[in-house]
Symmetry: C2
Subunit: 251 residues, 2 copies
Amino acid sequence: MKQNSLHVGTLAKGLRLLRAFDEAHVSLTLTELVERTGLEKSAVQRLAHTLHVEGMLDRDPDTRRYRPSHAWLELAYVYYWSDPLISRALPKLIEFSRTVGETVNLAQMSGDHIIYALRLPNHRTHFAASIVGRRVPALATASGRVMLATRSEAEYREACATWPLPAVTPLTITDRAVVEDDVIAARRNGYTITEAQVLLNEISLAVPIIGTDGRADAAVQVSLSSLTYDFDRVRREILPVLLDTTASIQG
Amino acid sequence: MKQNSLHVGTLAKGLRLLRAFDEAHVSLTLTELVERTGLEKSAVQRLAHTLHVEGMLDRDPDTRRYRPSHAWLELAYVYYWSDPLISRALPKLIEFSRTVGETVNLAQMSGDHIIYALRLPNHRTHFAASIVGRRVPALATASGRVMLATRSEAEYREACATWPLPAVTPLTITDRAVVEDDVIAARRNGYTITEAQVLLNEISLAVPIIGTDGRADAAVQVSLSSLTYDFDRVRREILPVLLDTTASIQG
DNA sequence: ATTTGAGTATCATTATTTGATACATTAGAT
DNA sequence: ATCTAATGTATCAAATAATGATACTCAAAT
C-alpha cells in the first residue's frame, strides 16, 4: 500500500470516502461506502465516523445515510478567494451577462478535463444550472479546444491523440481528426463554436483567456439554445461582445 | 488525543490542514501550515504531501506554497446535487432575479451561522460577489433571524441569548434584546429587513422557506443598496415578489 | 417466529504513523 | 558575490494508533 514513506495511507483512504459521493450518489449508507471505496467495513466505519464528527459529512439519524455537509460549500468559498482569476473575471462576466442576457461560464483546464469555475445563468436556463465544479472531458468542449489552440503544436496534437473523448451525447464528435481540425481552426479564429457536444440543443461559444505567456488556462464560454440561434447569428451578435469581455479580463 | 476508539486521528489532522486555508490565507507554505494547525512539522510534511498527491492541494513549484485545488470546487458540485433544496429553489430564484433585477441569495442555517448556498448577482454587485459557501453569524443576518422566527419560543430565545453576535460592521446591532425583538417581529410579519448589519450601505430583505413541519432551515434574501432603496420602497416593490418566490419553492 | 442484512462494538496484532534529527536548498542580508 | 538564517526534504528507530476479524444488536422482511 505504501510506495513513498511520505504517503499517509489513512488520510488518502478518508479522501476516498469523500470521492465516493457524486451526482449519482448523493447519499450513501455504510455498506454502500464499503462497496464504492473497496475498503474494509471496519475502516469505513471508523473513517466515516471521523468525517462525521469533524463536520465533513452529515448523517440522517433515521436512514443512517451519510451526506455531504455544508463544509463542502465552504471549501468552494475558500477556493474562490484563492484563485485570482475568479475575482478578476467575475465583474466582467456580470457585465456580459447583463448586456447579452445569456448564460455565461468560466471554464478552467484541469488535467485533460475542463472544470466550470463560475456560472451566471440566464432566465431560461434548464435545471442542470448548477454546474460550477463540474468536470467535462476537455476535447468534447468548445472551452477545452480553444484553450488547447493556444498551446504548442506538439501539445495540442498529443492532447487530441490521447485525451479522453467519450460520447457525452449521441452527437458528440468522437473522430479525433475532426477535433484536431477544430483546434487548428481555433488558432486562426480565436474562438470555437460547437453544437450538441455536451448537451443536446446547446450551442457553445468559447474564447480563451490568454495569460502573459500566450497560453490559456481558462476560457469564457456562452451557452445558447440552438432553437434560437444558429452559428451565423452567434458570430454576429455574441462573439464581438465576448471578445471584449475576455480582453478586459486579460488586461 | 483519542476519546473514542472510532476516531481516526490521522484523518482528522489531514482535515485540519484543509481548514487552515481561509479567505485571508489562500496559500500556505509548509511552515505556515505548521503554525496554523499546531501540528508537528513532520506530520504536516507528510499530510500535505499526501493531500497534494491525492489532488486536494495544488502546489506552486517555485514558491512551494500549497493552494486549494479544483477538487474543492468539485465537492461543491456534489453538494449541490445532494441538497434537494438547491434544485427546487434555483429556477425560482432565476425567475426572481430576472423580474426584480437585484441580487438574490439562498441562505441555510448551519449551526449558529447561516451559510450562503446560492447567489445570483446583479450587475451592480460589488466585489465580494462570490459569497457562496460563506458563513456569517445567524443573529447578525436578516436570513438567520427570519429562520429563527419560525422556531419555538424556547428555541429562539435560547439562540438570541447564546449564539455569537460579533460586530461585523460598526453598525451591527450587538444588543441581544433588540435582535430578539426583531425575531419576534418577524414571527408576525413573515419577513425581516436589516440595514448595514453585515455590509455597510446594504439593505437585506429575507423571507423564510418553511418546511412541512413549520420550521425554516433556509431563507431567500435580497441584497439592496441603501443608496437606492429605503425600507418602505423595499416593502412595496420587492417584498410581494419575494413572497411569491418563497411560496413557490415551498409548494 | 426466524432469517437476513445492516450497523455497532471490541480487542489482540502489527503495520503505520510518529517525531527527532540530520541534510539540502533557498532567500535574505551584508 | 558570500554568508547566514530559515525553510523544505529525507531518514529511521520506537511505539502508538490503525487494522480487520469477530461478535453483538437491531430492524425489516419472509
